[in-house]
Amino acid sequence: MDDLDRRLLNIVQADFPIAARPYLVLGKRLGIAEGEALERMRALVESGVVREIGASFDARRLGHASTLVAAKVPPERLEEVANIVSSFQQVTHNYGRDHEYNLWFALVCRDAGEIERTLEEIKARTGVSDIHELPAERTFKLRVDFRF
């Protein structure tokens, strides 16, 4: 990753041009050709630094409900339980963490009822009952971009 890549990443994380030829706009901002801007972006995707280019929607504004969930899983069953949890389409993030509550996952559902039903199904299929729903009561910060 060179300096131009870093500048490109700083721009495209928060401010990807919403334009018919976005790489032309990016190229102009960076002083490079449209083709080079696109090729640099492609390389960042292929090397795995960039997962995807797209929209991050506010689930609530789409009428959806979301929550974080904490679960206490017997350590020897962590991987098995995590794989069951991950198999649900509603689960967007799923992490093992070094705590007695060792599995933390996020759900995005159409409504609160679907969250309840999904958690009941997860409990039934995993046999894990020490599961707590922790919806955000207040958001102080949500910034997912990184500075380079």
Binding site: D58, A70, R97, H99, A136, L142, R143
Partner: protein, 157 residues
């Protein structure tokens, strides 16, 4: 939400293709003219329906491999002040108030990213010093089992 808007959201899921005119392909998928698609995305960015439009990174590949979920036990009357101070930290990407549960007494969550564990520890220590809140824990990621964008309006339901 109109039918057209739902089609646009579905067409945007999975991200933009890597091409000179990526929005053209999304517009075709959604069945709308490109101008209408671009105008709708801009309108959603303006009203907050789209929080961010851009490249999503894999932070561990981008030089921030360590991720700690900081959890804090903050008295109710100090939540506002704590939230603002924690949110001002460069290392903190997310900061939420969440309910306490069972024997888990923490009610404020800060997602902290760093190059090393020490970076996360230092950022947390600084927030602790600034706020005087000393009852906290850092839960490090031991494994990432899944990380995907949400599926809105899945077509099979």
């Amino acid at each position: 939400m109109t039918e057209t808007q739902i089609e646009i959201i579905k067409a945007l899921q999975g991200g933009l293709p890597l091409s000179e005119e990526p929005f053209l392909e999304v517009a075709r998928k959604a069945g709308v003219p490109q101008d209408e698609l671009l105008a709708q995305i801009k309108a959603w960015k303006d009203d907050g329906t789209i929080r961010r439009f851009g490249a999503m990174l894999r932070h561990h590949r981008a030089g921030y491999p360590v991720n700690a979920m900081g959890v804090w036990n903050v008295p109710d009357d100090r939540i506002e002040e704590f939230g603002r101070t924690a949110a001002a930290s460069e290392a903190v990407t997310h900061c939420y108030q969440r309910p306490r549960f069972a024997n888990f007494r923490y009610n404020l969550y800060t997602m902290i990213h760093g190059r090393l564990r020490e970076d996360c520890e230092k950022a947390a220590r600084r927030i602790s010093e600034q706020t005087g809140i000393t009852d906290y824990a850092l839960l490090y990621t031991t494994r990432e089992f899944k990380k995907v964008g949400p599926v809105y309006f899945p077509s099979e339901v």
